[in-house]
């Protein structure tokens, strides 16, 4: 059994970081994009990230925002695949790839694109709230 010498509960400090004005704005956008409740997203972020990454969330979101183009119609763009795997790594690459794969399969099986994407979003939401 490994015991840490000075390990503290950091959740309080992490919550303070997440409640700064810039983070509030970014989290609101993320919540609207994926349809998750803010507290659930916060909990997920606090569990997964260390404090320097938490501080950097608004800047990383901005990087992703700059990369996007208006005309991009791909599924990856709709999911924000690189956003939640690379910039703000909430999902692992494998999880994201399998969701994209399933959605692609549905579309090639004659399914409509918009409901397929919204089902994919539901899958992402499930991973986020788990």
């Amino acid at each position: 059994m490994v015991t840490f010498l000075y390990e503290n509960d950091l959740r309080e400090m992490k919550l303070i970081i997440l409640s700064s004005p810039l983070h509030e704005v970014t989290l609101k956008i993320l919540c609207e994009k994926y349809g998750v409740r803010r507290q659930i997203l916060r909990k997920k972020l606090m569990d997964l990230f260390d404090m320097s990454l938490l501080e950097n969330i608004p800047a990383r979101y901005e990087v992703w925002e700059k990369e996007q183009t208006e005309t991009d119609q791909s599924i990856e763009h709709a999911f924000g695949a690189s956003l939640i795997t690379r910039q703000i790594p909430l999902l692992t690459e494998d999880e994201m790839n399998s969701i994209i794969q399933q959605t692609n399969d549905k579309i090639s099986a004659g399914y409509d694109k918009i409901p397929a994407i919204s089902e994919g979003m539901t899958m992402i939401r499930e991973v986020l709230s788990s």
Binding site: V2, F4, L5, Y6, E7, L10, M13, I16, I17, S20, P21, L22, D47, L48, D50, M51, S52, L53, E55, N56, P58, A59, R60, E62, V63, R86, Q87
Partner: protein, 361 residues
């Protein structure tokens, strides 16, 4: 989150090489670092919350106290942002004096950063030389503003004190001193195999990683990513500013870039002094209702202030994005990964010029 790993190497919060408290938790395989995490929260002051509801006369002093090392640029960007709200005109001479002060602040900050690096790799001689040279820059700051650290020199519509011809001469002498001494030290750093070899190919940071983590300032410019805010600043455009880029992305190029930027800063100050014409330095102005977003180039990179005020000039909402937020994140998650020994962990960390007080505000 608690992780169970083979060897976990915690450094800090009180550690001989850290100027400020923070805790790096490295996951190591032998001495090879496989990943690292950073624990903050030791200097959280909540300055954005204190600023809300206060008049601009108080906020300009509070902004300076976000960070003590680069206090001038916080003052500069905060005031310029507020000036954008009401379009307060600034006299030409004041604009140049602001640049002079900002570049002096950059010189002392870069010298301090390089001092810390040399001290961390245990080359105390060069470190002490650099720290002594920094005192010259501090003297120049004191000569112009009357204070060493928190100057509060820049105010809406101008600056507080003029630069008399005698002081200007003294300043020129100081700049010559900095240039001639630093040329020697840079030669020592370049030529000293113990220093240069120990820094080359350590803490690699590629351009792609720099883009991904939105890293800014010398840390990004050493990886050939140009995002210098001075390129877009009206007064720097007049001075024909061009940013310096290096493309190795290791500790050596980060330190070297700071040395080169000091030479560039002294050159900028000289051209300011040459272009400056006598005139008024303070026009005055009152801040009213509005919002603005303004960025400036701090010694560590891009600094952004988003301010919204009410009709009496009280701050309704303010958010500050300091350069250290991005640079420390880049350092911990990209540079430290793949560092060969525990001794290189601290030197790599210091080479990104971290400022925890900025980071946590």
């Amino acid at each position: 989150m608690k992780k169970i790993v083979d060897v976990s190497l915690p450094i800090g919060p009180v550690h001989p090489v850290f100027k400020e408290p923070c805790r790096i938790k490295c996951v190591t395989n032998g001495e090879y670092v496989t990943s690292a995490e950073l624990e903050l929260g030791y200097v959280k002051k909540g300055i954005e919350r204190i600023m809300v509801g206060r008049p601009w006369q108080e906020v300009m002093f509070l902004a300076e106290r976000v960070c003590g090392i680069c206090s001038v640029i916080h003052n500069y960007v905060c005031i310029e942002g507020m000036e954008r709200i009401n379009d307060i005109p600034v006299p030409d001479r004041a604009e140049y004096l602001r640049v002079v002060l900002n570049e002096l602040d950059r010189i002392q900050s870069h010298l301090l950063a390089n001092y810390s690096y040399c001290y961390t790799i245990e080359h105390e001689t060069l470190a002490m030389y650099l720290l002594n040279l920094r005192e010259t820059a501090m003297d120049a700051l004191e000569l112009i503003t009357g204070a060493r650290v928190t100057c509060s020199y820049i105010i809406p519509g101008g600056v507080r004190f003029d630069l008399t011809p005698e002081k200007e001469n003294t300043l020129r002498g100081m700049l010559d001193h900095i240039d001639s001494e630093l040329t020697r030290f840079v030669h020592m750093f370049k030529g000293g195999s113990m220093i240069a070899l120990r820094s080359k190919d350590v803490g690699m940071f590629t351009r792609e990683e720099a883009i991904e983590s939105h890293s800014v300032g010398p840390t990004a410019r050493a990886s050939n990513l140009d995002n210098d805010c001075r390129l877009f600043h009206p007064i720097y455009k007049k001075l024909e500013f061009k940013s310096i880029l290096l493309d190795d992305g290791d500790n050596y190029s980060r330190i070297m870039l700071r040395f080169l930027e000091i030479f560039q800063s002294t050159k900028l100050i000289r051209s300011c002094l040459a272009q400056m014409e006598p005139g008024i330095i303070r026009g005055g102005g009152i801040i009213g209702e509005g919002t603005s977003k303004w960025s400036g180039e701090a010694p560590r990179g891009e600094l952004t202030y988003e301010i919204s005020t009410d009709e009496f000039g009280r701050v309704k909402k303010i958010s500050i994005r300091t350069p250290s937020i991005m640079n420390i994140e880049a350092c911990v998650h990209y540079m430290l990964k793949g560092v060969d020994s525990a001794a290189d962990v601290t030197s790599t960390y210091i080479s990104s010029d971290p400022c925890i007080a900025c980071n946590e505000r």
